[in-house]
């Protein structure tokens, strides 16, 4: 399979993620849409890294670090969502404006 096919799949995933981010206001749903975009980016990154044997390990190393940081980011956002739900009983991102200090 040519690398372009993998990149096409990545483009479709990216577009679906953007659609989800634009049409949802629920914080968790927006996080899930952002995670689709993250998966699309990983796929594009590895597809391009696999084309050159010299850059392959570099792409792998960066993706390993990106996945670790994504796990940390998920923890932070879900914690904020839980705190917001406790305080406001809602997950609407427009409610976040009221958290300004």
């Amino acid at each position: 399979m040519e690398a372009s096919w993998y990149l096409f799949v990545s483009s479709i995933l990216f577009a679906i993620g953007i659609y989800g981010l634009l049409t949802r206001r629920n914080m968790i749903r927006m996080l899930l849409s952002a995670e689709i975009i993250f998966n699309a980016a990983l796929l594009a990154f590895l597809s391009l890294a696999s084309l050159d044997a010299g850059y392959g390990p570099v792409g792998g190393a960066i993706v390993v670090i990106a996945i670790s940081l994504s796990a940390a980011e998920v923890g932070v956002i879900v914690s904020i969502a839980i705190m917001m739900f406790r305080m406001r009983r809602a997950l609407d991102v427009y409610e976040l404006k009221k958290f300004r200090g």
Partner: protein, 161 residues
Amino acid sequence: MNPLSDPLSVVFILSSLMSVVAAILIVHHKSIVYSAFFLSVLGVGNAILFTLLGFPIIALFHLSVYVGAAVTFILFSVVMLKEAPVVEPPVKALAVIAAGVLALIMMKIFSVFTAEPSFLLNYRDLTALLVTKYWFALIVAAIALVTTLIEAITLARREGV
């Protein structure tokens, strides 16, 4: 050549379909719990694609850390939350057009890469690179994970919020 005659092409088509359908269901499913579940299906589909590209170690890492930890964390957290009705912004038609145009532009750009991936990641190269060239990024990732852990414990123990 018929792509269905090659087993790897069949695996690619099936895993791509799995990923795309899972992504659509994440955005469109009524239940947020099922949406989180379909994120793990997307993770599995992507891991298969990573293996086909020659990155089996990254695929295993993706399965264990991303699907096994991050997505499971979202799933269990979402179960605790009651989904409150939210008024969604009325921009669906505009969002479909924007996403469609974006996908077409990206496909046009990516159609240049016609070479076939012929690469297999050696885990020795990967670990050597991580501990020599990317050691600082590795430390930052570790600190970020520890900070998240501390934050989660603090929020869980906090009372009267």
